[in-house]
Amino acid sequence: MAKATREAYGEELQKLVQENDKIVVLDADLSGSTKTAMAKKVAPERFFNIGIAEGNMIGVAAGIASSGHPVFASSFAMFATGRCWEQIRNSIVYPGMNVKICGSHGGISVGEDGVSHQATEDMAIMRSIPEMRVFCPCDEWETKAIIRHVANDDKPCYVRLGRSAVENFFDENTKFEIGKVQVLNRGQKVAIFATGLMVQECMKAVSTLKAQGMEPTVVDVSCIKPLDEEGVVEILKQHDFVITAEEHNIIGGLGSAICEVACKLHPIKIRRIGIQDEFAQSGSYKELLKAYKLSDEAIVEAVKEYYQSL
């Protein structure tokens, strides 16, 4: 069943706060949307609503973490990363605080709220902070595995979550090696590295393409940083053309990260699917994916263009 990754986050966090009575959860007046309300329900004494004050929330998280408590701090991805980038850099990551920043409503699939609420630079700005780890899970099970994984270490990280329901590509029993790229479909010639919601669009594209005699490899990249360079290079070497797909500006996110590895270790032609360095707009999320060429059709087109160029 399709489920939004923010929903999966809420469910896993609810379990974690019950298992570990050290965990503290913070939110900034969006606990219903980010789903931290589910943790509040079972551990109200360790949930603190900081109000509409994201910068303060990050500073408060630093103080709580410095006292020996792991902290999960949530808001929309836009405000959780954008409003307080410098607080995150200087009060969370530089001092190495055990704070997990979990931003919901990442990307343009936020839809109707429009540009002010569409985080399309969050992965870039988080990735550029030294030591910061950046995750962007593609489905319910990957989200739960990542949330559990980061709850069990003591380092800062950013997890990007989505508003809309996404199909499952894994199941409850999937063994994850967090940090490694995962091949979801093994094909030839073309490899697509995708993250978050775009994994679903790529898998849809595969069924269309298969029927027409083309089958790209689809690789799920849920850990944007540190990037599994070895795994990426292996895929690069096995293919002739590479596509990256992210619900994010093509500058600074997954596409950039893959290009950086390719430049260094295995130069190859790469086509970056993503927001083409522009502001999007309001609209339903399906219309927006189409309008900004992020839907399965756009991926089909990109793969076909490669075949036509041969």
């Binding site: 007046d29 509409i52 109707e112 309001s282």
Partner: protein, 269 residues
């Protein structure tokens, strides 16, 4: 009903229609601000079709940008916006979910991220001083929005530069998304805090036209200080089932609820 009350009632009808049609948006905080915006655009601000496209006039910043339905409906009611209100939040519409000054001439600042609009309003007031003009700057904030630290940085700055050409209004409806402001993160006493920051503070009933008019007149008369009007309001005002209910902050009415809302509002006509 006098003509201003008629306009306000039309604005309310359009707010619920727009949000219902878009199946998303923020009715509660739009309905609480309707009288305030009606007085601003029909009586207080010097703005008309000849100057709407210019910054050489009185300006208004909707710092609580999610109340965009109220702003768009007010601009339309005043004859300053000619877009089809039912395109609100739809693909390729000028009427973005949160106000976009690049797509609507009557929108004076792009907002949506809380706490930022008031700073821009302070900047506009400073620019008016630099330019030695007597245009006035108005800004509407949410009470939840006052939890943002930036609001208080702006408050300090406005008093420091004696921006008596600036008038901020706080839509004091007592609610934010996660519940009552007192329970989520108490920003009160907002009036005393602004006074302590050096503002001229006026407390009114934000649904009483005469009190709103009088407050704006007092703000204009006040020299050497910015003015803050703390407007006590009811979130969702005018639609019985939305009133005082945090659940209607950012939820669209369904067809049946829209019909009920319109029935209640039409009864005022």
């Amino acid at each position: 009903m006098n003509s201003l009350e008629k306009h306000a009632n039309n604005i309310r009808k359009n707010i619920v229609k727009m949000v219902a049609n878009a199946k998303s948006g923020h009715p509660g905080g739009s309905l609480s601000a309707t009288e305030i915006l009606s007085v601003l655009y029909f009586e207080e601000m010097k703005i008309d079709e000849s100057n709407v496209d210019s910054c050489d006039r009185d300006r208004f910043v909707l710092s609580k940008g999610h109340a965009s339905p109220c702003l768009y409906a007010t601009l339309a009611e005043r004859g300053l916006l000619h877009d089809d209100l039912m395109t609100f939040r739809k693909l390729n519409s000028n009427l973005q979910g949160h106000p976009n000054m690049r797509s609507v001439a009557g929108v004076d600042m792009s907002t949506g991220s809380l706490g930022q609009g008031i700073s821009a309003a302070v900047g506009m007031a400073i620019a008016n001083k630099v330019d030695h003009n007597d245009h006035r700057i108005y800004a509407l904030l949410g009470d939840g929005e006052c939890e943002e630290g930036q609001v208080w940085e702006a408050a300090m700055c406005a008093a420091h530069y004696k921006l008596d050409n600036l008038c901020a209004i706080v839509d004091f409806n007592g609610l934010q998304i996660d519940g009552e402001i007192q329970d989520v993160m108490n920003p009160c006493p907002i009036d005393q805090k602004f006074a302590a920051f050096g503002w001229n503070v006026i407390v009114i009933d934000g649904h009483d036209y005469d009190q709103i008019r009088a407050a704006f007149a007092k703000a204009r008369a006040c020299k050497g200080q910015p003015t803050m009007i703390l407007a006590k309001t009811i979130k969702g005002k005018g639609v019985s089932f939305m009133e005082n209910n945090a659940g209607w902050h950012g939820v669209a009415p369904n067809e049946e609820q829209l019909a009920q809302a319109l029935k209640e509002l039409e009864a005022n006509d």
